[in-house]
């Protein structure tokens, strides 16, 4: 079941709708069939009853001699009738089908039939040649018999044309037990009108055209439902994209507050949330900016005082402390400002950029080696990327002694993205820490970190700066020991423009 249960909301809704349509169609079909059945049966019974009752009235008004001819005229619907002095038909218990028919006859007679009506569910023809032969049958068509009491007249005779042909021909063939109604209705002179009629045949429940119709209706409904659900869920994709965009860039374009009422309302709420987030960040940035601004003067004084000291050792320590305080302020400010987003991507020589960052680290007396192409044109934000790389290289040197940097182009979604790796030979990090290391103010190891003077923002800034370019930074432990930072940048220009410069 769970394998059949779709994961997507659209899939689920379509499946549920489809099932609901099937159930609804099924129930509708059942109701229709039932109604059709009872209607058909009812109509059939009614026709028989009305004809029989009409025949009875006609016979009652006709002289016995005319009666067989009258009956002949009233044939039809497979209905066969005879006039007789005896009921000739047994009475079945008054339940089920019999009771139904009796009720219909009651309606036709406009009174309760009582024992003046005998009904029986038969199997074969009632008026078979042998069977009716000795029976007293109505139908003396001699003229001039009017007014004579039919019941008393012993010269009954069966209506031969009716008996010989019609009965056998009309009723023969293929009927199962209980498929015929046999009955006798007492006329007001005490004689009986015997009748036999086929019961309404059960109509086939499933015809192929019915199935095709139902199937087509279900599929059409499902298709329409699918389109509707698809359209209705489109805003969800929009919100997903917007949330992802917002995750990367707080100043992303707000959503259009248009469309259906619910969607517009959700978009308004989303935009309001974005505005509140922006305000929060702005306040935080302003606070830190004010802080660093106000620290400028005392820090400048402290630096000057340190230079005026005569104690060389203390002077050195104060300078180092001041350097750390300043680094803390500038990097914190840099981090909260998230200024990398403001930079515009530009075509740049990525290989030269990576090489330059390595050179700068090398100039500062730290071991950074670069391996990769001499030139590689790529589109990125130069300042942000440089900062990200510098931080990764600093980190590698700080904790792993040296940084081995490489640059390769790697196919990614059909476009060649650039992958920069920074390897060190340090102790690496526990697997659980690899992702936490990107949290602001994270410290791998408090005591060591203080010695090395980090403030725990390097990787956080590297990640923020890379994500501004739509790239990613991850850490992994190398198989041979040490940590590898991988910075991957997506290609954000049409392919072909990106051939390596010679």
């Amino acid at each position: 079941m769970s394998a059949l249960w779709p994961r997507s909301l659209v899939g689920r809704t379509i499946l549920v709708l489809f099932l609901a349509i099937m159930v609804s169609n099924g129930l509708g079909l059942a109701a229709y069939l039932w109604a059709r059945q009872s209607f058909q049966v009812d109509a059939r019974d009614r026709a028989v009853a009305e004809r029989v009752v009409a025949a009875a009235r006609l016979l009652e008004d006709s002289p016995p001699s005319d009666r067989p001819a009258q009956i002949w005229r009233l044939r039809g619907f497979g209905l066969r009738m005879q006039w007789a002095t005896e009921p000739m038909v047994g009475n079945d218990p008054d339940d089920g089908r019999v009771s139904q028919v009796r009720h219909v006859f009651g309606d036709a007679l406009a009174r309760k039939p009582g024992d003046g009506l005998r009904l029986s569910l038969g199997t074969g023809p009632l008026f078979g040649r042998g069977r009716v032969g000795g029976a007293p049958m109505a139908g003396d068509d001699r003229p001039g018999d009017e007014g004579r009491e039919a019941a008393g007249d012993q010269r009954h005779r069966p209506g031969p044309p009716m008996m010989a042909g019609g009965m056998a021909g009309g009723m023969a063939g293929g009927m199962g037990p209980g498929d015929r109604l046999h009955g006798a209705l007492r006329l007001d002179d005490g004689s009986w009108l015997i009748f036999a009629a086929p019961l309404a045949p059960p109509s086939p429940l499933w015809t192929s055209s019915m199935l095709i119709l139902i199937g087509a209706a279900s599929i059409a409904a499902a298709v329409i439902a699918a389109v509707a659900v698809w359209r209705a869920s489109a805003p969800l994709s929009m919100f997903t994209a917007a949330a992802e965009r917002l995750g990367r860039d707080l100043n992303a374009q707000p959503l259009a507050e248009a469309g259906p009422e619910e969607v517009a309302r959700a978009a308004r709420a989303f935009n309001a949330m974005q505005a509140r987030l922006q305000q929060m960040v702005r306040q935080r940035t302003q606070m830190l900016a004010a802080l660093s601004h106000d620290l400028r003067t005392p820090l400048t004084r402290l630096r000057l005082r340190a230079e005026l000291l005569d104690d060389g050792e203390q002077q050195g320590r104060i300078r180092a402390d001041l350097d750390q305080i300043e680094a803390l302020i500038t990097t914190s400010l840099e981090y909260v400002r998230d200024a990398f987003r403001e930079e515009r991507p530009a075509p740049l020589d990525l290989a030269v950029l990576v090489q330059t960052v390595c050179d700068e680290a090398d100039d500062a007396g730290r071991a950074a080696r670069y391996r990769g192409p001499e030139h590689l044109t790529f589109v990125a934000r130069p300042v942000a990327l440089r900062r990200a790389l510098a931080n990764l290289i600093d980190n590698a040197i700080k904790y792993g002694g040296e940084a081995a940097v490489s640059l390769v182009l790697e196919p990614e979604n059909g476009l060649a993205g650039a992958i920069i790796t920074v390897d060190d030979c340090g102790p690496g990090l526990p697997e659980a820490e690899l992702e936490r290391a990107f949290e602001p103010f994270y410290r791998a190891d408090g005591s060591r970190s203080r010695e090395t003077g980090g403030i725990g923002l390097g990787l956080a800034i590297a990640r923020a700066a890379t994500e501004a370019d739509g790239g990613t930074v991850t850490l992994a432990n190398r198989a041979g020991g040490g940590l590898r930072a991988t910075l991957s940048l997506p290609r954000i220009e049409p392919p072909g423009q990106a051939a390596a410069r010679s």
């Binding site: 660093s292 601004h293 620290l295 400028r296 003067t297 820090l299 400048t300 004084r301 402290l302 630096r303 000057l304 005082r305 230079e307 005026l308 001041l322 300043e326 302020i329 500038t330 400010l333 840099e334 530009a346 075509p347 740049l348 020589d349 030269v352 950029l353 090489q355 330059t356 960052v357 050179d359 700068e360 100039d363 500062a364 007396g365 001499e374 044109t377 130069p382 440089r386 410069r501």
Partner: protein, 250 residues
Amino acid sequence: MTQPSAQSLPSAHILIVDDDREIRDLLSRFLGKHGYRVSVAGDGRGLRKILAEGAIDLVILDIMLPGEDGLSLCRALRASSAVPIVMLTAIGEDVDRIVGLELGADDYVAKPFNPRELLARIRAVLRRAAAPPGGLAGARRDAAATNLRFAGWRLDLDRRELTAGDDTLVALSGGEFGLLAALALHPQRVLSRDQLLDLARGRGSAAFDRSIDVQISRLRRKIERDPQEPTLIKTVRGGGYLFAPDVQRS
């Protein structure tokens, strides 16, 4: 690390303009300790008064001043005098730096500055100012020239960017930028390593920890068609380096 040789003008007279009394005093003690004569002023009025009184060799000018701010003082000063100016700007505020340089300041230092770095900048600026006319005095930035074009390259002095002919940005380290700017501002002229050091430092780059030769070879890898056969930055035997291409300023 190569320091500028001797203090070229040990008795130079420096005017400090800052509204913070303590910084004024501390800075004047610091510079005094390094052999300079120092005067101080708290605002534009004091600045003008002291300038009128005597010969000032260099002005250290804070941007944030009560009344007339540092930028407009800088502009006014530059209009009437050639006295070198070093601006004190806010940390990381590039706008101040760029505007200050455009208004004719010779250099800038961001607060909170490292006093020793300020000292190095002061020395470099003084040395440039003292260079004989027709010498390297042209090193001072022509206020209008922010772009130098040569051999298909464009060097943006404000944005500190080197752009190739196809608009591709080519990254430069701070030292490389200073060096290339110094070379491109003095084309077709032999520059010794010491001269290059001074000029490059004046461009606001960090102190060199690498020899000029290493920086030059890196620059060649970036801008020369064939770094083995340089056509742009040529080595002059026994003399130094020469920037060969024509440079257009704009």
